[in-house]
Amino acid sequence: MSEPLIVLTGVTRSFGSGAAAFQALRGVDLEIEEGDFVAIMGPSGSGKSSLMNILGCLDTPTGGSYRFRGLAVESLNRDQRAMLRRHALGFVFQGFNLLARTSAQENVELPLLYRGEPVARRHELARAALASVGLSGWEHHTPAELSGGQQQRVAIARALVTGPSLLLADEPTGNLDTERSREIMDLLAGLNRDQGITVLMVTHEPDMAEYAHRIVRLVDGRIASDTRKAASPAEEGAQ
């Protein structure tokens, strides 16, 4: 493989200025290969969210460089980053972040709408995405009519529907019970394995991090450890 999907070099992020300035990231170097499944762990305030926002092109680093597929993200403007998110990234949030009073189908179609896909294709892709997360038959239910686990599945379908190369999941199981959490993690792991989607997940639950191939620990804005787990044949078989 040539250049990795993501290359962070000496990335810093500070908030405020002068004496009140707070350094959330103090120089992070990180490379993520295409097709990897990475969990980012760390205590509160370790800079997980800041790192996630930068990786998700929602925020830009104060210092250092972020190359996504060789593209210097820090030099992109707001709309260019939006275009990058639209075409290459998918987001899954802790709080699901679905549009209220809007059917699952329409929620999933939302990213396609901004891509200008015609109606028939939107319907088709959204239905397929919902089916792939096991929600066939739930297309016309609104978030209020769905359980937490189902809502997160809709959110995953929404992230997947555009065929992104990177899926960013910010505490995807934070609002779910253990059983639902396992279902969601199985789903993410399956997507990573079967469709080759790179998955980047922030979590503070070691159980969930176990699903990843690689665990990056952040402490005080720096990478404290970066361990790769050898894929166990037993786990592969269990799926």
Partner: protein, 402 residues
């Protein structure tokens, strides 16, 4: 994109139906007020013109004082005399008739009922000049006119008020201290556009009015009808010169009387209604602006309420201008909806108002289009600030918003 944004906007409006309704109320009232005012104003102008035109385009009206209509008092200028009528008849060529008119307000009594009205003293030519039809009986003859006989022709309102269902011809009416015989009934002309009842009058020979009611030989107004084959301008000029001469007005002095032709009168009156229309329209336009501010207010609230939604849209790749467009279209859709409802309401109000005011209902596509366009423009104008606020939101902050 625009189509989708429009669908989204309509759905958002439907979701908050009550709020949307209250928001557009200002625009609805503004648009309907502007259109109704202008439509009724135009109708009134038209009605005034029509009414005056119905007198014919060949009529000159001569009055003491400098102007006809409000604003200038004719007090001070001398009234006309019967001799003026004769002089005009004999010395100005091309005239069909010269009609003297003197009026007096009186109380009429008949069949033990009474009614306040006006008595018009004039000559027989008055009926033809004013295009009056006779519904029953006859008009006074030359002998009665010359003698100042106690005879009268009454309008339809007088018949209704004094005689009810009975035939008034041959009955007596007491006017002040004398009795006069009703010899004829005028066909109804209905209400005039200025709101006065044209049928509320009693017509007598001029001499009768002068002798028994006004007690003077003055004539208040002269109506001159010009023959169709004669020039109005020439007649007007000749009449003016003759009257100046008879009233001994020096060369450099201004006329102390006014000669108006019907076109001029129409212009004067419709000028007044046009100014009124303009003023009312302007007041109504202010309410449109107020409506716009209401829309801006609600859109700002809406942006705050939907911060999280905006965050989601931005995170999944919506561009700044797409979010801007979405909210702008929502504001424009609200305002335009107000415009449409306003137009419907204005049409109903105008038709009803026109019927009440006895003016014609003239559909004016210009003002309808203009009001609609204006309301949409207000949507753009007042929707821009909230929409820009939405578009400029930081997606991270917006997603965190509760």
């Amino acid at each position: 994109m625009i189509w989708n944004a429009l669908l989204l906007a309509l759905r958002e409006i439907r979701r908050n139906l009550m709020r949307s309704f209250l928001t557009i109320l200002g625009i609805v009232i503004g648009v309907s007020a502007v259109i109704t005012m202008v439509t009724l104003g135009n109708g009134a102008t038209q009605a005034v013109s029509d009414q005056i035109a119905s007198l014919g385009s060949n009529l000159l009206i001569i009055r003491p004082g400098q102007h006809l209509g409000p604003g200038r008092d004719s007090a001070g200028a001398a009234q006309f005399k019967v001799a003026d009528v004769e002089a005009l008849r004999n010395q100005v060529s091309g005239l069909a008739a010269v009609v003297p008119v003197s009026s007096k307000s009186v109380t009429l009594v008949a069949m033990s009922r009474n009614w306040s009205s006006g008595v018009t003293g004039t000559s027989r030519d008055w009926f033809a000049t004013g295009k009056w039809q006779i519904a029953g009986g006859r008009i006074f003859n030359e002998a009665e006119e010359r003698a100042g006989a106690a005879v009268c022709v009454i309008g339809d309102t007088i018949r209704r008020e004094l005689f009810g269902g009975q035939d008034p011809v041959g009955q007596q009416i007491r006017v002040k201290q004398f009795s006069c015989e009703v010899i004829g009934l005028l066909a109804s002309k209905g209400q005039s556009t200025m709101g006065n009842d044209q049928d509320d009058l009693v017509v007598m020979p001029l001499r009768t009015v002068q002798r028994r009611l006004t007690g003077s030989v003055d004539v208040a107004t002269l109506m001159v009808s010009v023959r169709d084959d004669a020039s109005m301008d020439t007649a007007k000029e000749q009449v003016t010169w003759l009257m100046r001469e008879r009233r001994h007005i020096g060369l450099g002095d201004n006329d102390d009387f006014a000669v108006m032709d019907t076109r001029q009168i129409a212009e004067t009156l419709s000028g007044t209604t046009k100014v009124m229309t303009g003023l009312l329209g302007a007041v109504a336009a202010v309410s449109l602006l107020v409506g716009g501010i209401g829309i801006m207010n609600i859109m700002l609230v809406s942006v705050t309420e939907r911060t999280r939604e905006i965050g989601i849209r931005l995170a999944i790749g919506a561009l700044e201008r797409e979010v801007l467009l979405q909210f702008l279209i929502e504001a424009v859709a609200l305002a335009s909806l107000g415009g449409i409802v306003g137009i419907v309401l204005a049409t109903l109000a105008s038709i009803g108002g026109a019927a009440l005011m006895h003016v014609p209902y003239l559909f004016n596509p210009g003002i309808n289009l203009l009001s609609f366009g204006f309301s949409a423009a207000i949507g753009v104008l007042f929707g821009y600030v909230p929409a820009r606020r939405a578009a400029r939101l930081d997606p991270i902050e917006a997603l965190r918003h509760e």
